[in-house]
Amino acid sequence: MILFKVQNVSFVSQQHTIVNNVSFEIEKGSINEFHGPSGGGKSTLLKLTAGILIPTQGSVLYNNKDIQTMTRSEDLHFRKECSFVFQDSALWANQTILQNIQLPLQIHFPKMSAGERSERINAVCAKVGYDKDLNVRPSDLSAGEQKKIALARALVSEPQTLFLDECTSSLDDGSAKVVTHLLHQYVSDGNTIVYISHNEKFRWEFPGLLFEVNNGQVQEKAIDIDDLR
């Protein structure tokens, strides 16, 4: 089943064409990787696919619905099902870690009780390997800890698709292993991941469909495990 359909998408920023007339599809339950040189447009393409950036031209369909023309309730449903982990974590600096993880729950599960919410937050923090104080600001954490919280925030609403932009960068080996194990479980539950990673170990762990992104153009091919080895 096709989950995302990217149709003739272009993106221009500050008079530079970053993504140029790109089309591809992402299937439900698949592993997908955007790979290519730095500055090739991978992160922009990932954000366009996730509906965070609006294409200058073309459209992105999620379950055959154009993300741009979704109603507020359709958009909320889409955001609940698709989460994004940013390259630089992008935690809200003026909120505590607890508030950062709590906000998606407040939006997508407004009727959830405080106890249930707290239980789910603690569970997701344990899953990503964060066991410190939740009442501190992101600036009090290291880059690696911020990455764990970003992942916890993305996973707390139990999405079906996860967009990961360099999700293991700034993590130590032990933490990277925890995240890898967590993502293996996530994929084995039939969920979809679309990721960018320059970490060869991570790429080896998650072989799937490879989208080679270069100069705003995309070429689709299957990941060759032997190449990664």
Partner: protein
Amino acid sequence: MGYPFLLNIGQASLIYEMLVIVISRELGPILVSLVVTARSANAISTEIGSMVADHEIESYVSVGVDPVEHIVAPRFLGVTASVFLLNLYFSFAGLLAPSVIVQLVNPVSFHEYFLGLLQTLTVRTILVSCIKSILFGMVISICSTYYGFKVERASTEVPVVGIKAVGKSMLFIIIVDVVVTAASYL
């Protein structure tokens, strides 16, 4: 300060009209809004600008939070209400203080002073003052949030939008002030 002069030319009663027009209708709204611009327009635009540069706004979008609803609306309402209330406070204090100062120049009873003020203070004056303060508050919040969101990528753009937000707020406050003042005399 103008009271002795008005007294000499036999127009002492005009002091009340002067006080009401200068403090409540003209000086109050514009002075308060300029103070709020200097204090808050820069703060709001740089805060939002930093959030854009750090991808925090994209992060809000990704979890289904509407940035306009979550970031712009509270600041719009907050700044507008602040300028409105500060203007009331300023006008009240501005009209109250001369009652003490005037005792040094030409002692007038408090009763007489406030009676003179109340006789001069019209609903129209209060309304113009309130409309001005609300419009100025809207101008400040719109300019500061608009320029905050103008940041595209680099954090070096943040101080630039801060300066623009303050400059443009002041410019539009003066333009709105001229228009409203002119309209109030029609």
